[in-house]
């Protein structure tokens, strides 16, 4: 039986990578992802994980090395954060268009400037359109589970897309939490060997990463887009299989006391648990409040999101990133777009807060929810509300 133990989430995530028997890890250390790659380097150096650890000179190189390794059919992992993810940026598109099943943990960190090593979602939002499958996790257990699931999703020959697992920098990466690490043989049963269909192979040579003139570029991009959209059903299938094997259930849009709620707060990542406490507290005060949490960011779960909010009057969304000069938080903007043509939809209130590592307490979330309800009633002159700024 897998035992429950207290462990730092970064270490737990690296141990999960070890359980998947990854072949290649190419990574560059950056706060707050450092403990993940440090621990993996240790596991490889100690002989506990039979993998090649490639210590590259930058994140651009890390992702480039991952392309090469994944193209040979090797199970490939990397991790980064914030500026590191930005330095990888152009290569991220190549990974998804080449359909390479790389798995990457992103310890979400605010983008500079001003220089910040602390957490928010500005790095996530900047790579929204890179064509990767993107999954938010909320706690240490989810970080383990979704790292394992990510490999199975990515490598499924009906998917063949890279996957990012987003976990909040510090708020999650540096927490010591009770988690259950699955047994190695259970993971091996759940996760079949990687069988990339057309790997680099001297016996059967192929050319990868070729150019596409205007006559074929649109077709290439459409094939990629259809594939990412279709991956949703396989993601759900993998999560169902995971539930069967390990007993923990995951959904693209998670719910907390939301069934009959008139007002919903929507969150992503580790702040979700704090928001749940605020929901409990407001429920005790007699408010009809519930919560939904976005787990699957790409491909966007349109159907599940529409179903989740259709009976609510008000939907308050907390983004942890700004779209400068734009219509509000990036997630909120997408949800507004997803609901615009629906006949029955809640009023949507956009909040941006928790940037650059700023905490939002339970009382803070209560304030966001109650202020959101008031704005839904009375309106607001603002495109979005900024939470917790000193005037």
């Amino acid at each position: 039986m897998a035992k429950r133990k207290g462990i730092e989430v970064s270490i737990a995530l690296s141990d999960a990578v070890k359980l998947t028997n990854a072949d290649v890890i190419a990574a560059y250390p950056i706060t707050p992802q450092t403990h993940i790659v440090e621990h993996l380097a240790e596991l490889v150096a100690n002989g506990e994980l039979d993998a090649a650890f490639i210590p590259v000179e930058s994140e651009h190189s890390a992702m480039s090395a991952c392309l090469g390794s994944s193209a040979t059919g090797a199970r490939t992992f990397t991790a980064t954060a914030g500026q590191g993810l930005e330095l990888m940026h152009e290569v991220l598109y190549v990974a998804s268009s080449m359909r390479l099943p790389i798995v990457m943990a992103v310890a979400n960190r605010a983008l500079s400037g001003p220089l910040s090593v602390w957490g928010d979602h500005s790095d996530v939002m900047a790579v929204r359109d890179t064509g990767w499958i993107q999954i938010f996790v909320e706690n240490g257990q989810e970080a383990i589970d979704h790292t394992i699931c990510a490999f199975r999703i990515a490598e499924d020959n009906r998917v063949l897309l890279p996957v990012m697992v987003h976990l909040d920098g510090f708020h999650l990466t540096h927490m010591i939490e009770p988690v259950t690490l699955p047994e190695e043989e259970d993971v091996s049963r759940f996760l079949p060997p990687n069988r990339y269909p057309l790997p680099l192979d001297p016996v059967k040579p192929v050319a990868m990463g070729d150019f596409a003139p205007p006559v074929i570029y649109t077709e290439a991009k459409w094939a990629q887009e259809i594939n990412l959209r279709n991956s949703k059903s396989i993601i759900l299938e993998v999560w169902r299989e995971f539930e069967k094997a390990f007993g923990r259930k995951y959904l693209p849009v998670e719910h907390y006391r939301s069934e009959d709620a008139k007002t919903l707060i929507m969150t992503m990542g580790s702040f979700s648990e704090t928001a749940s406490l605020a929901v409990d507290s407001l429920r005790q005060k007699g408010e009809s409040v519930g919560q939904i949490k976005l787990r699957l960011w790409r491909p966007f779960p349109f159907k599940e999101l529409r179903d989740a909010v259709k009976n609510a009057d008000t939907l308050v969304i907390l983004d942890r990133a700004l779209s400068y000069g734009g219509p509000g938080g990036p997630v909120c903007t997408e949800i507004r777009a997803a609901l615009y043509n629906e006949a029955k939809k809640p009023k949507i209130v956009s909040f941006v807060g928790g940037m650059g590592g700023r905490d939002i307490s339970v009382a803070g979330f209560e304030q966001i929810i109650t202020q959101g309800m008031e704005i839904a009633r009375k309106g607001s002159p603002n495109e979005y509300e900024i939470f917790g700024v000193r005037e």
Binding site: S97, R99, L160, L198, M208, V215, I216, E219, A223
Partner: protein, 98 residues
């Protein structure tokens, strides 16, 4: 099934990750189309040494029936390297007509 050209392929025909599984399909691109100069020859001076062929970055020079080395203008990009390297000045680059 006869192979489709790129202009005939639909998005469903594209191999996973746009991987090219058969060698040689780059020959479909007539890469000489944007040339601004082309090589012309005074074969009477040619000693058939093949130096032009060795130096051509496009690999587009082959021997013709008489054994002279000549560029395939579908692929020649007009760089003039062959003309520069030819020891007997067989090759003269001329402007392409508008």
């Amino acid at each position: 099934m006869p192979k489709k050209t790129e202009a005939e392929m639909t998005w469903k025909d594209i191999e996973v990750g746009c991987i090219v599984t058969e060698p040689g399909n780059a020959a479909q691109y007539k890469t000489g189309a944007w040339r601004s100069q082309r090589p012309t020859y005074t074969f009477s001076r040619c000693i058939k040494c093949g130096i032009c062929q060795m130096y051509c970055p496009e690999g587009c020079i082959t021997q013709n029936k008489e054994g002279f080395f000549e560029a395939n203008l579908d692929y020649c990009k007009g760089c003039g390297i062959c003309a520069k390297e030819c020891p007997t000045r067989v090759i003269n680059m001329v402007e392409e007509e508008e």
